[in-house]
């Protein structure tokens, strides 16, 4: 029985427990907060896990601050799941992406809830970038946005499909290359269509300074049949592609209250430039995903170049060691010969050779 603490990596502890088939006890879940204990969205995540697996048991104690989790078999399948509006649907999707390749059946899950929020990645990021990483590990998956939705009403919907594989592939992502083009999606729900336009223009205004191949599309969900729902919002996602065939860097922003769309666009562009300056092949948002997938990869050497490791990246390293016994060699390297730049981190590890034992041989 593993013992971990805190609610910050709740999803990943549960998911890794399932993947490594090790029971886990999580203590001090939001203990110092008010109200203490498991948050509604976390409970909802457990509900999803209950749905997605067969034979998992949960036991909550200590005034909702302690959870004992016993993993079952990963089932997958076709169903729909509703996520509370306090988080985006990607809160569940992110974790589910780790489970789906190891499920017994191919999965096709419809998530209902917010498609964008301040805390989580938007569905566009997952669709364009996260799934791309998953694809690199040999998993074919797709995400389809049925309709968009934002807090407080939510009611957006996405379809996530993912095939079950026998095992992943190992990766070698070292070549960063140079940014050759930047693509973006400015999405909006039930707002004036000029807002995303202006956001996109602002983002382009910043980025065209460094390269001409910038293209931002706008995707406006008018929400025709949802007049009464309070689900408006907008944001922008920018994805930088480089000459290194595998490296992708993405950044997104969501409009805050009373923020000018120009500010939103510029903010996103600047954040993207930040990420580019960091120098890894993988942006800060996907460090955890890629690291955990590396831990699940077959027992071959996987190498990936990250920018600076974020807290979640570090946490991923710890999780890899705790749940899968995968120890990484972490090496900091100067990314170019230019001085004063942040140093990129080269992470090498040998996967734990996770094999999908549930999938039937054909």
């Amino acid at each position: 029985m593993l013992h971990v603490e805190g609610g910050s990596l709740f999803r990943h502890h549960i998911v890794c427990s399932i993947l490594s088939k090790k029971p886990v006890t999580i203590t001090n879940i939001h203990r110092e907060e008010d109200p203490p204990g498991i948050r509604p969205y976390e409970a909802n995540f457990l509900k999803f896990i209950d749905r997605f697996t067969n034979g998992s048991t949960f036991q909550v104690s200590q005034g909702n601050t302690q959870l004992t989790f016993n993993p079952g078999m990963i089932l997958g399948g076709v169903f729909s799941h509703e996520v509370p509006v306090s988080r985006s649907v990607t809160y569940v999707v992110e974790a589910a992406l780790l489970l789906m390749p190891f499920a017994k059946y191919d999965s096709k899950i419809t998530f209902v809830g917010c498609t964008q929020s301040e805390q989580d990645l938007s569905v566009d990021t997952v669709r364009t970038v996260s799934l791309r990483w998953l694809n690199l590990f040999g998993v074919s998956s797709a995400l389809r946005v049925i309709r968009r939705g934002s807090a407080p009403a939510g009611n957006g919907a996405v379809d996530v499909t993912c095939t079950a594989v026998r095992k992943l592939k190992s990766i070698k992502v070292i070549e960063r290359g140079r940014v050759k083009r930047i693509r973006g999606i400015a999405s909006a729900i039930k707002v004036a269509p000029d807002l995303p336009q202006r956001t996109a223009t602002a983002a382009k205004g910043v980025l065209l300074n460094i390269l001409p191949d910038v293209y931002v599309v706008t995707d406006v969900d008018e929400g025709k049949n949802r007049r009464s729902e309070l689900c408006s919002g907008y944001g922008v996602l920018l994805v930088a592609e480089t000459t290194g065939s595998t490296a992708v860097i993405s950044q997104e922003t969501t409009a805050r209250g009373r923020e000018a769309p120009e500010d939103v666009g510029a903010r996103c562009a600047h954040l993207l430039l930040d990420q580019i300056l960091e120098g890894g092949c993988i942006d800060a948002h996907h460090q955890m995903l890629v690291l955990l997938l590396m831990a699940l990869a077959p027992d071959e050497i996987s190498v990936a170049r990250f920018g600076r490791l974020t807290p979640s990246g570090i946490s991923a390293l710890v999780i890899m060691e705790t749940f899968f016994g995968v120890t990484c060699a972490v090496k900091e390297e100067a990314q170019t010969d230019a001085p004063g730049l942040p140093r990129s981190t080269l992470v090498t590890c040998m996967g734990s050779n996770a094999i999908n034992v549930w999938k039937k041989s054909s």
Partner: protein, 1219 residues
């Protein structure tokens, strides 16, 4: 006439018809350009290829098939055997008792080490050569040992008594081996000297060989041993065997590739003595020793010891190799070692009595007057031995120490428990990849709110407002930064991954320009930058272009800055780095180097560099540039190497691009004069390139400049210059690559010596070409299979290369490698296991092979394993479902209760009570999860030595699940209680209302075939249901429901514990129990067959006879119509008429009739009698005639005989007379 006239030969007549002529014609036409098959294009069908059935195409297919059958999916050796010395080749000697196994091992050991081993107990490891070690293992004659041996052995010497022939054990073992991966097998035939004759010997040999080939592989090695001398096999035979052993290549087996294992050659009870004295029956802690084989072993792994169970490894450590083969230290004389000396011929056999040392389960015994020389001469070994005796399991502190020393530890809590909270991970330094674990430093304010607050970022260590001095002296500043930035996530952090705060101030144009220069591809030179941007291209040439097109830069200051003309700004930056944020305002590289050129270098040797940079930046045309380059080169030769100073890669002046991420070309900073503080900014901490590189850089810059200027020539002078460089350059996305290529081309054309980089580039190019050729040109680019095959092979090679690269980083240090991949194969390890039952120690028998197999994640989880199984064709019985069965699967030997099923065509898995006779069937059993396609073999449980074949069944797994889809048929029957029109109330179908309620909507059927459905339950009537049918049913009908009941196998699974109790039997079958307790077969009286007593039924055939009119019959559909429908009035009517007109017979007539009948009877009887007498007399006559005939035949025969005899006699006499 004779002299002058030449002989006139007949003139040659070329053929006008036939093959030759037509061929010549064709050739002529072809030369003339006439189309031979003018319609070919328009009618493809007529000119199709040769038919698939022709002999030629068949031959082709056959040859392809032959080629393909040789190919195999390239398998990767995951054992990392190329990293360290391979583990000893595990040679298992297998055979029935009395066949000479021990003698063979003794002979081999004697051959290798020159020592006599009296009794072979446990594995014996010897050094067989410079790079080869061999472990001999004798397989005892029982099935469990055979299973274990088959799982681990690399090579099997299958011994056969030549005089006796094959025995059951041989085939049992072959079957077991086939299931568990089929290692290499050599056949060894002994006892051939007992054959009586040479002919019989030859015949026997041939028979054995062919049978062996049939079982193993055609052409498998088989060795016949000569008679023994002095109770040993002859050295000649042993030498032969040795030669085979030395060059044997082990097979890459799937299971071994994915699992680690150890053949345990020594164990030690390390339980604290106070525990054992207090409670002698307490569970023990045992240390096991052995070489790791297969996949690397992880420290926190579960191992399965077959015959004992699953155990977590408490502690594992690398030990000194008792038989190491690294002899470099020994032969330091410089000459190559030809053979091993006596000292190097080591032997390691803890359980056998080698060299007077015997390892027991309690202690090590040294026999003082044993083989004295061995102990004394090998003092090192003796020391080691002594050392081994003192080894105790590490306590926690030691373990901690060991972990601290490691190169990268993401450690668990100090108290040993695995906890995740609050442990920062710090890098000690880059080279050793070492992480420095300190006490956690917790950022104070880490709120959920992820505003762009700078403090917040600082808390994460991501913001670097305070790291301004980083650039200045990186050595000190870096750890601080790293420490902060690498703080792991706190338990109460918000669970989000979004980055929402900007780290740098992007309103600064120079930073933006820097990003552009460093990270953005330079291939957009010619493109049109959007009007929105403030910055324009850096490149001169491109700039010219732009100006031509009218896109003049509107931000001149910025452009000048980029070009490096604004010097003061950079000076500022360099000098006041302390107050300024180094990262926020990284200087433009071009301007930096320009700056250097002007500022710093000028003090030492201003001229050359200045000249160079001047050329570069101003973009002079060719001739000048060449001159300048020449001048620089000369200068460079003059100046001393040590005084060389850094200049940034000059190439960027020309191309506007910067070196890409290629680490080789990283960095061009060079500094010698440490006194100059300004240089520190440029000097990276680790990379200090040598002066040669620097020269190359300058050269490179010049060469690329040349190309540029040649381009310009065309523009200015209007001369058509074919711009080769540029044309080819378009292929390269990466500017740097393009540049390098150009430069390489220039170097090759120039014929000068290539620099290192250029040579590297050339090699790279060749490799690329080779790869391309392989991809496309194999067999003329037609054979796709081959190219795919090559592709697969290359993938495997690439993976191996990746691993090697990763290992190279770790270097020579084994500890580091172990950290990264685990305890890889070839290491001699000691691992400690707790809670081993004491009976293991008590019942320990060294001759039973003891292995420990590593388990992967989740392979200890109990689930229902689905498999396909087939009864072994040699096993005399079929298997019964739910009977306990011992199965050897993976590492394990378990006892479980499988159920069998057969898949119906509709996909339903139907329960089978017994396995089919000669077919595979599905089977499901409760067992630890096994990967799909794992083979297994079923064995008898109380392992008795019977004459029959003892492998029950073989199979392979197809999946794991928490339940099964196996169902068995269940028929519920009921009878109608009350029948209305089509509705009936059915009773005795169910026992209760609840039960009945579950079946609402279920389909029904009566015996007579009327279908129906359950509609509702009549409440309170004990399960009477209302049903509707498609027709009215009879009250006597039986109604039934066909349903399927899922069957799950019993959740019973135990590990076979033959190491704890050699006579372990486990669960017994019912049959065994009945035999033991002398019980009859239990019978359910309800299931007995009884005589069926039917109620008297109405004759339906009669009752159902329907009369149909002729017209209706004529109108029936064809298939229902009778063949013949008479024209006349129907029979029925006739019958009716007959019936209607029949007269009742009167008594008088009846009497008359009776009289007539009597007379008639008498007449008949007389007739009969007369007939009989006539027959008798006829028979008599016939018999007499036959007799006469017979007599005549006899006489005729006799007469014939007589004549023949006489004739013979006469001829004989005649011949005698003539003589």
């Amino acid at each position: 006439m004779e002299g002058d006239d030449q002989q006139r030969n007949k003139a040659h007549k070329s053929r006008v018809t036939g093959n030759k002529a037509s061929r010549r014609d064709d050739l002529k036409k072809k030369k003339a350009g006439i189309d031979l098959e003018p319609n070919r294009g328009s009618n493809p069908k007529a000119f199709g290829g040769p038919s698939a059935n022709s002999r030629k195409s068949q031959q082709k297919v056959r040859s392809f098939e032959k080629k393909e059958s040789v190919l195999h999916v390239p398998s990767e050796d995951k054992t990392l055997s190329h990293l360290a010395s391979e583990p000893p080749l595990l040679v298992a000697v297998v055979g029935p008792p009395g066949v000479g196994k021990t003698t063979l091992i003794r002979s081999m050991v004697k051959f290798y080490s020159g020592r006599n081993v009296q009794n072979v107990r446990g594995p014996i490891t010897i050094v067989a050569g410079k790079s080869r070690r061999v472990t001999f293992l004798e397989c005892p004659n029982n099935l469990s040992a055979m299973c274990d041996v088959a799982k681990v052995a690399d090579l099997i010497l299958l011994m056969v008594d030549g005089n006796f022939g094959f025995e059951m054990e041989t085939f049992e073992f072959l079957n077991i081996a086939q299931i568990h991966g089929f290692p290499k097998i050599f056949g060894i035939v002994s006892h051939l000297d007992q054959m009586k004759t040479t002919k019989a010997l030859k015949k026997q040999k041939k028979f054995l060989r062919h049978r062996f080939w049939h079982e193993v592989a055609a052409g498998a090695k088989m060795l016949c041993l000569s008679p023994m001398i002095h109770n040993m096999y002859r050295p000649n035979d042993v030498l032969k065997l040795h030669r085979l052993l030395i060059c044997v290549q082990t097979k890459v087996q799937n299971w071994r590739n994915t699992h680690s294992c150890v053949l345990i050659d020594r164990h030690e009870d390390v339980t604290p003595s106070e525990v054992t004295t207090e409670t002698p029956n307490a569970d023990r802690t045992i240390a096991f020793y052995g070489y790791v084989r297969g996949k690397p072993m992880k420290p926190d792994q579960l191992v399965h010891i077959p015959g004992l169970g699953d155990f977590p490894i408490t502690h594992i450590s690398k030990q000194e190799d008792p038989c190491h083969t690294d002899f470099n230290g020994g032969s330091s004389q410089g000459h190559k070692m030809r053979h091993l000396n006596q000292k190097q011929k080591k032997i390691y056999a803890p359980y056998s009595d080698v060299g007077g040392v015997i390892y027991d389960d309690h202690a090590i015994y040294l026999q003082e007057d044993g083989d004295k020389q061995n102990i004394i001469r090998s003092g090192e070994g003796f020391e080691m031995l002594k050392g081994l005796q003192t080894i105790r399991p590490m306590d926690d502190e030691e373990q901690q120490q060991a972990r601290d020393d490691s190169f990268l530890v993401l450690r668990s809590g100090a108290d040993g428990t695995r906890r995740l909270a609050r442990r920062p991970v710090n890098f000690k330094n880059d080279e050793s990849l070492e992480l420095d674990m300190e006490d956690p430093t917790v950022p104070q304010d880490s709120s959920d709110d992820s505003s762009s607050d700078d403090d917040d970022l600082a808390a994460f260590g991501l913001g670097d407002g305070k790291d301004a001095d980083l650039d200045d002296d990186d050595d000190d500043a870096l750890p601080d930064l790293v420490e902060e930035s690498l703080a792991p996530r706190l338990p109460h952090d918000a669970d989000s991954v979004r980055v929402t705060a900007t780290r740098n101030d992007w309103s600064d144009a120079s930073l933006m320009a820097r990003v552009k220069e460093l990270f953005v591809t330079g291939s957009w030179k010619g493109q049109n930058p959007s009007a929105a941007g403030g910055a324009k291209d850096v490149d001169d040439a491109a700039n010219d272009d732009l100006e031509e097109k009218g896109y003049a830069s509107d931000d001149e200051e910025f452009e000048r800055e980029i070009r490096g003309e604004v010097i003061e700004r950079d000076n500022e930056e360099d000098s006041d780095d302390d107050e300024d944020d180094g990262k926020d305002e990284p200087s433009d590289v071009a301007s930096e180097s320009e700056d250097e050129a002007h500022d710093d270098l000028s003090s030492m040797f201003p001229k050359p560099t200045n000249a160079l940079s001047a050329i570069a930046s101003s973009g002079l045309h060719g001739a000048t540039a060449a001159n300048a380059a020449f001048a620089t080169k000369k200068l460079k030769n003059q100046q001393p190497k040590s005084a060389l100073v850094a200049v940034r890669d000059p190439s960027k002046f020309a191309s506007g691009a910067f070196a890409s991420s290629n680490p080789d070309d990283n960095t061009t900073t060079k500094r010698e004069g440490d006194d100059d503080d300004d240089f520190d900014i440029l000097a990276t901490s680790e990379e200090q390139l040598n002066a040669g590189d620097f020269q190359d850089d300058i050269l490179r810059g010049l060469v690329s400049h040349f190309t540029k200027s040649s381009h310009q020539l065309k523009d200015e002078e209007g001369i058509e210059v074919v711009d080769h460089e540029n044309r080819f350059a378009k292929r390269y996305v990466n500017e740097k690559e393009q540049k390098d290529e150009e430069e390489l081309g220039a170097a090759i054309e120039g014929g000068g010596a290539l620099t290192d980089d250029q040579e590297k580039m050339l090699q790279k190019r060749m490799a690329k070409k080779k790869a391309f050729d392989e991809d496309y040109d194999v067999d003329g680019g037609k054979n796709n299979t081959m190219s795919y095959y090559h592709h697969l092979q290359r993938e495997v090679e690439q993976r191996k290369k990746n691993l090697d690269e990763a290992m190279d980083v770790a270097g020579e240090d084994d500890e580091q490698k172990i950290r990264l991949v685990g305890y890889f194969s070839g290491l001699y390890v000691r691992f400690v296991i707790e809670n081993v039952p004491v009976e293991f120690i008590r019942a320990f028998n060294p001759s039973t092979p003891l292995i420990a197999g590593g388990l992967n994640f989740g392979e200890d989880q109990m689930q229902i394993v689905h498999a396909k199984i087939k009864r072994h064709r040699w096993y005399p019985k079929i298997l019964k479902a739910q009977d306990p069965l011992v199965i050897s699967i993976g590492w394990r030997r378990i006892q479980t209760q499988p159920i069998f099923a057969q898949e119906d065509p509709n996909g339903r898995h139907r329960y089978l009570k017994y396995t089919p006779l000669h077919m595979h069937c599905y089977c499901a059993f409760y067992a630890p999860v096994a990967p799909t396609n794992t083979g297994f073999i079923a064995l008898p449980c109380p392992e008795v030595r019977t004459s029959g074949f003892r492998c029950l069944a073989t199979g392979y797994t197809v999946g794991n699940d928490s339940c099964t889809a196996v169902v068995k048929k269940l028929k519920l029957t009921g009878t109608p209680q009350k029948v209305q029109k089509t509705t009936a109330f059915i009773k005795s179908l169910f026992n209760s209302d609840i039960e009945a309620a579950k079946f609402i909507g279920a389909k029904l059927k009566t015996v007579s075939g009327i279908r129906g459905m359950i509609k509702s339950v009549i409440k309170g009537k004990n399960g009477i249901v209302r049903c509707t049918f498609e027709d009215k049913i009879l009250p006597s009908d039986i109604v039934f429901i066909r349903s399927w009941k899922p069957v799950d196998p019993n959740r019973f699974c135990i590990t076979v514990k033959n190491l704890v109790d050699p006579n372990w039997t486990g669960m017994k079958t019912m049959r065994q129990l009945r035999l033991e307790h002398n019980l009859p077969i239990a019978s359910n009286p309800d299931s007995e067959y009884r005589e069926i007593k039917r109620r008297r039924e109405v004759n339906f055939d009669e009752a159902a006879k329907v009369m149909i009119s002729r017209n209706t019959r004529m109108a029936l559909p064809f298939d229902m119509k009778e063949e013949f429908i008479p024209l006349a009035k129907s029979d029925v009517v006739k019958q009716r008429i007959v019936a209607a007109t029949t007269r009742v017979v009167e008594p008088k007539d009846m009497r008359r009739q009776a009289l007539i009948d009597t007379f008639q009877d008498k007449a008949d009887a007389m007739d009969q009698k007369r007939k009989e007498t006539r027959q008798i007399s006829r028979d008599k006559v016939k018999r007499a005639a036959e007799r006469e005939e017979e007599e005549y035949e006899k006489k005729l025969k006799k007469a014939k005989k007589e004549t023949a005899r006489k004739q013979e006699f006469r001829t004989q006499h005649k011949s005698r007379n003539t003589k």
